[in-house]
C-alpha cells in the first residue's frame, strides 16, 4: 500500500516551530551582572565543537539533533531523549571525529550557564539556537531519588531533577579530568 510519508512535513513543522521559538523568545541580559561565559573564554573549532578555556572541556555547539553553524538544521526528528537514550546517544556520537563524547555531570553542565542572561541562560554566540529547555546531566539523583537524574534548565539556570523516563535535551561533552 502506498502511504503518504509524513516525515518531511513533520520536519518542516518542527523547523518552523524552532525558528518561531527562537524569534519569539528574545534573550535578556542584565547590565548589572558580570558575564560568566564571555565569548573570549571559548574557542570555536568550526566543526561543531567549542572548547571552554576556563574548564578545558570540549562541548558540542548544538544540542543533539541540531546542526549547522547556527544550529539551524534539524537532523533528528525527535530531539527529546530519555536519560538512557541520552547516555546511549552520547556514547554513539562521533561528532567531529571524536568517539569519547559523554553526557556532562551536573557541575560541568552548570559551568556553561551564562548567569547574566536568561531565556536562555547561555551564551548564544557560542551555543546558538538553544531552546529554553531542560538538558540532561549524567548525574543520577541520590538514594531518595533513584528514579530521577539531574537536569539544568537553560531558561533561568535552575538545576533540578527529572524522572529518568522523561524526555529532555542533550548537549555532549568530552575531556576534563
Amino acid at each position: 500500500m502506498n502511504r503518504f510519508d509524513f516525515r518531511p512535513f513533520i520536519l518542516w513543522v518542527a523547523l518552523f516551530l524552532v525558528s518561531v521559538g527562537a524569534a519569539r523568545a528574545a534573550q535578556y541580559c542584565s547590565s548589572h551582572i558580570p558575564r560568566s561565559t564571555p565569548d573570549a573564554d571559548f574557542v570555536d573549532h568550526g566543526d561543531g565543537t567549542v572548547t571552554h578555556k576556563e574548564t578545558g572541556l570540549m562541548w558540542s555547539k548544538c544540542l543533539l539533533g541540531l546542526s549547522g553553524d547556527d544550529c539551524e538544521f534539524i537532523t533528528d526528528d525527535n530531539i527529546h531523549y530519555t536519560w538512557q537514550e541520552a547516555l546511549e546517544a552520547a556514547e554513539a556520537s562521533t561528532l567531529a571525529g571524536y568517539n569519547d563524547w559523554r553526557l556532562p555531570n551536573i557541575k560541568e553542565l552548570a559551568s556553561i550557564v551564562e548567569l547574566a542572561c536568561y531565556a536562555p541562560t547561555i551564551n548564544l554566540t557560542i551555543f546558538p539556537n538553544n531552546p529554553t529547555v531542560y538538558v540532561w546531566s549524567s548525574s543520577p539523583g541520590a538514594n531518595n531519588y533513584p528514579r530521577y537524574a539531574w537536569v539544568l534548565s537553560f531558561y533561568l539556570g535552575m538545576s533540578d531533577m527529572y524522572g529518568r523516563h522523561e524526555g529532555n535535551h542533550v548537549r555532549l561533552v568530552r575531556g576534563g579530568q
Binding site: K53, T55, Q84, K107, S138, A142, P146, R164
Partner: protein
C-alpha cells in the same frame, strides 16, 4: 562610573594584578580610601604611587585630593578597596585577568561513585545500556581517596592563622579546596561572628554586580551576631558581614567575599541524599541543610538571587525582599 557608598567595600578578586592601563580620574567630596591586600598594604597618595610593605589596618585611611589623575601603567595588587565616601572614576579601569587559556579552573567532581539504571542506584559500573555515567569519569574515579574528603574531593584544614593542618585535626577555621583553589570559611557553633545559625538579608550596593537591586540592608531584627540597630556596620546583611569578617580577619585573610552560585555548587556532594546537608561534613561541620546565599543575581528579576540548597543540592532563586538565608564566605580563585 560611581563606586561605593558609605562604608562600602569594592572587592576585587585577589591575586589578580590590576594594571591601570589608562588614566583614571578620581574625584568626589572628601575622598578617603584604603587599599589592603590582606598581609601588606599599599598606600595611595595623590600620585597613586604605592609603598610596598605598609601594614594595613582597618582604621588606615588614605585621603585623596579631588581630581587626582592617576598616571598610566601603574600596577596594583589590591583585593580589598574600601571607599569611605562616593568616588567617581572617569576613564577606563582595566582589570587584567590572567589568560584563561593557560590557567583553567578545574571543576570539582560530584561525589557520585555508583551507577544507576532507570529505577535503581548503587549499581556497579558499567551498567549495560546506560553507558558513560557520572561515576565513570572524573576525579571520583582518578582520585578516589577519602582521606582528604569524600571520593574525588581534596580538602585541607587550615588553622586560625591559615596554616595547613592534618586531616585528623579536631579544630580548624577554614578549608582549602585543593582542586578549585578556593579557601572557604568554616562555620562555628559558638554564637560568634561566624556562627552557623546566623541569618542575613542579601545586600549589595554595587550596581555592576548586584543585578539591578540592592536588596535590604537592615532586617530590623537581631538575626546575626552583634546586631545593633544604631550601628549600620552590624546590620545583618551579606555586604556588612563580608566587611566585618575582613575587618576582623579570618584565617589570616582580609579578602573574603560572597561566593558565586557555581562556587557554592563546587562544594556539593551529589551522592548524599536529602535532607542533607549535601557536603562533606568531615571538613565542613556546622553546615545547615538549607539555602545559602550566593553573590549571583538572577538575571530574570532585579530582586532575585541564586541560592544553593544544601538540603538536596539544587539551586533556585530567592528574593532580596527581606528573605533571610545563611552565608559562607570564600576567598581566592580567579
Amino acid at each position: 562610573m560611581k563606586y561605593g557608598n558609605h562604608q562600602s567595600n569594592l572587592i576585587i578578586h585577589p591575586a589578580k594584578m590590576i594594571p591601570l592601563l589608562s588614566s583614571v580620574l578620581l574625584s568626589g567630596p572628601g575622598i578617603g580610601a584604603e587599599i589592603c591586600n590582606g598581609i601588606s598594604s599599599k598606600t595611595i597618595d595623590a600620585s597613586m604611587s604605592l609603598n610596598a610593605g605598609d601594614t594595613c589596618t582597618a582604621t588606615q585611611t588614605i585621603t585623596l585630593d579631588s581630581g587626582v589623575t592617576v598616571p598610566d601603567n601603574i600596577s596594583l595588587y589590591a583585593p580589598v578597596v574600601r571607599f569611605f565616601s562616593p568616588v567617581y572614576l572617569q576613564g577606563n579601569l582595566h582589570i587584567a585577568q590572567s589568560d584563561p587559556a593557560t590557567t583553567p579552573s578545574p571543576l570539582n567532581d560530584t561525589g557520585i561513585t555508583w551507577c544507576a539504571d532507570d529505577s535503581d542506584n548503587d549499581l556497579s559500573c558499567p551498567v549495560t545500556g546506560y553507558p558513560g555515567q557520572d561515576a565513570e569519569y572524573g576525579r571520583d574515579v582518578t582520585h578516589n581517596d577519602d582521606s582528604d574528603g569524600h571520593a574525588g574531593f581534596s580538602f585541607t584544614k587550615l588553622d586560625a592563622e591559615g596554616n595547613p593542618l592534618p586531616a585528623s585535626a579536631t579544630s580548624w577555621s577554614c578549608v582549602k579546596d585543593n582542586v578549585t583553589g578556593l579557601i572557604w570559611e568554616v562555620k562555628t557553633d559558638d554564637g560568634g561572628l561566624h556562627d552557623k545559625d546566623d541569618l542575613y538579608n542579601w545586600y549589595s550596593t554595587y550596581p555592576n554586580t548586584n543585578g539591578g537591586g540592592m536588596g535590604y540592608a537592615d532586617d530590623d531584627g537581631a538575626i546575626c551576631y552583634g546586631y545593633d540597630p544604631n550601628d549600620p556596620a552590624t546590620y545583618c546583611n551579606t555586604q556588612a558581614y563580608v566587611i566585618r569578617v575582613n575587618q576582623a580577619g579570618w584565617c589570616g585573610y582580609h579578602d573574603w567575599r560572597m561566593p558565586t552560585i557555581e562556587e557554592l555548587r563546587s562544594l556539593v556532594d551529589y551522592s548524599l541524599p536529602s535532607p542533607g546537608p549535601t557536603i562533606d561534613t568531615d571538613f565542613f561541620p556546622n553546615q545547615v541543610n538549607s539555602q545559602m546565599w550566593s553573590s549571583s543575581p538572577d538575571a530574570s528579576h532585579p530582586l532575585g538571587v541564586w541560592l544553593l540548597d544544601f538540603g538536596y543540592g539544587g539551586n533556585w532563586a530567592g528574593g532580596k525582599d527581606m528573605s533571610q538565608f545563611f552565608v559562607r564566605v570564600v576567598r581566592g580563585g580567579k
